[in-house]
Symmetry: D2
Subunit: 201 residues, 4 copies
Amino acid sequence: MRITDYFQKKKMFKRGPQIITLKDCGMIAAFTGLGNGDTVVDCGAGSGFLSCFMGNIVKPNGKVISYEKREEFAKIANYNIKKAGLEEVVTVKVKDINEGIDENEIDVITLDMPNPETVVPLAWKALKEGGYVVGYVPTIEQTKSFVFACEDNGFSGIKTIECIVRDILVRKDRGTRPDTKGLWHTGYISFARKIKKEEKV
Amino acid sequence: MRITDYFQKKKMFKRGPQIITLKDCGMIAAFTGLGNGDTVVDCGAGSGFLSCFMGNIVKPNGKVISYEKREEFAKIANYNIKKAGLEEVVTVKVKDINEGIDENEIDVITLDMPNPETVVPLAWKALKEGGYVVGYVPTIEQTKSFVFACEDNGFSGIKTIECIVRDILVRKDRGTRPDTKGLWHTGYISFARKIKKEEKV
Amino acid sequence: MRITDYFQKKKMFKRGPQIITLKDCGMIAAFTGLGNGDTVVDCGAGSGFLSCFMGNIVKPNGKVISYEKREEFAKIANYNIKKAGLEEVVTVKVKDINEGIDENEIDVITLDMPNPETVVPLAWKALKEGGYVVGYVPTIEQTKSFVFACEDNGFSGIKTIECIVRDILVRKDRGTRPDTKGLWHTGYISFARKIKKEEKV
Amino acid sequence: MRITDYFQKKKMFKRGPQIITLKDCGMIAAFTGLGNGDTVVDCGAGSGFLSCFMGNIVKPNGKVISYEKREEFAKIANYNIKKAGLEEVVTVKVKDINEGIDENEIDVITLDMPNPETVVPLAWKALKEGGYVVGYVPTIEQTKSFVFACEDNGFSGIKTIECIVRDILVRKDRGTRPDTKGLWHTGYISFARKIKKEEKV
């Protein structure tokens, strides 16, 4: 059983709120250089998909603390974390992250929530030097609020992307072409890094 | 220092043959569910970027064995692996993978080489049940050869994608829009899984 | 009433076989520089959408001859041509184009049919110097057959494109973002030009 | 000589300000159903490319009136119009369009200018029932201003698109794939239609 199974099989992971796609999980992991041993704060947990995806990478030495203010979502997330055997790595905290990030020296903070900009000053304090804060939101307006908050709070190397993954049909009998319809947009992903001016890369 | 630094700073990683992009590394990690403890075979090593990227995820319990038939590329790869502090995790083997995969019970095999289709029968034997073989090639013709070889050798859940990442410029003074020019195409990534018929998901 | 109305309202145009999208009509018009006075051969007529679209541009001095070998499609095309008031401009000819193109000194030949490569030698003869032949097919394999036939028959400036049009939702209340789902692929459009070697641009 | 030649050959058309691409010309023609006999107002003329493209379609019965407030651009536009043999169809008017649109019963108004939103009320008056106003701008912020102005001024069927055209390399010797780099973004194109409430389609 691999982490991809939990994403693909409805039976495996319960789906509560809208879940993140594997493609966006992959972009977050790649552009933050997520690896073993990292300490990650994820908010909101939602159904826990992103937390589990990251937990599977940072274990056994790292950990994911997943903030979720709604009890009912926290329950779904906890169910999925247990299902994936990641309860040693991923912890759900039922708390509004705007009330404070309890952890510090964090490597990566992922914000998959409607107003990630309010968390940016807290993220700056909680992050390790060189750490990343990531905002994942569907609209341009939310992206702007997050990016400008990062600029205003001293973050560097700010970068916004959209990741489009297209299925290509490769068939012996009917030829090769991209699939007719597909997912055009999930969200914009913005990355910002806590780097002191004199050390900027 | 994070793995992303080695990708971004020319000083950090030596660049020999064409290197893989972070976006494609991210897609490979995401769609194979790469995580701690995985055993990976990567071929060809090239400059070692993909091997290092995956090593950073599978460590400390997993390992990456990186096949490379050209001595001079193996040297560059080894230099970069050492630079990234991954010599405990990533091993370069100077060998043509077509002569045989020495390892078995492998979780993921990544083939970033001109003719990955020739390796498919070997991959089937070397993979663990449920493991993935991944072909990463620039053209449709190469993609077809790889996909058809996977079909002919019993693989399941075969899927080809292209991943397009677009930079979005978010600027207080000059407005928001996608960057004018960008990378339109690197390669098609095909995934296939070793799953026994009766267990197919 | 504008030509766009016939495309959008189901009541206006009858739809028989798969119809071409407005985006692809636009690309064909743009990349061939379609304009008033042009003589166009279109095959197959299908429901007559592309013929009507082009007829609306080339009228009153130009004309569109639309080949269609299936009687039942020719009827639908004729119904739509009449509906759009283009019967002076667009003529449907019930004939297999492989049996010969009766017209000559043609400006643009559009081939929206499964095997456009068989028509390429006929297109060379029928086209005016500087004229365009256009192949519109869904798969890479068909595209290759058409493009290679154009190369082998002396055509110049051969170019294949795919045109992707994405709807952007712009909303006062819910923000701005691309539409979630959409049309990822219709067909590849290939353009080739009849230009004598010494005059090639 | 076809209109596409003027776009491709530097010798043919003088290039002053940034010119519009053929793909965007094609989208504007397709989504407004531009055809013979249409009366078009274009602003600003710039180098006159879009005006010439449209003039080539609407002639001989239609006309394009091209507003341009900068004398030096008007000169370039006039040079190109003459070059393309379109002086009977396309007229450049050296005037700030915000001071008023002199024409009425217009079919299509195209606004390729930094603040098209200021022209929207004038466009409503000048357009024929069923006519289109088109805004073509590079950023999301400009797009929003234009779209909201259209909403506020009674326009219907408002639609914003981005058109991405990708070159596909089809080669006997080196295989088939999209071109590595390309044009990722030119501008967003927004369409709005003057339709009375009771007639809305």
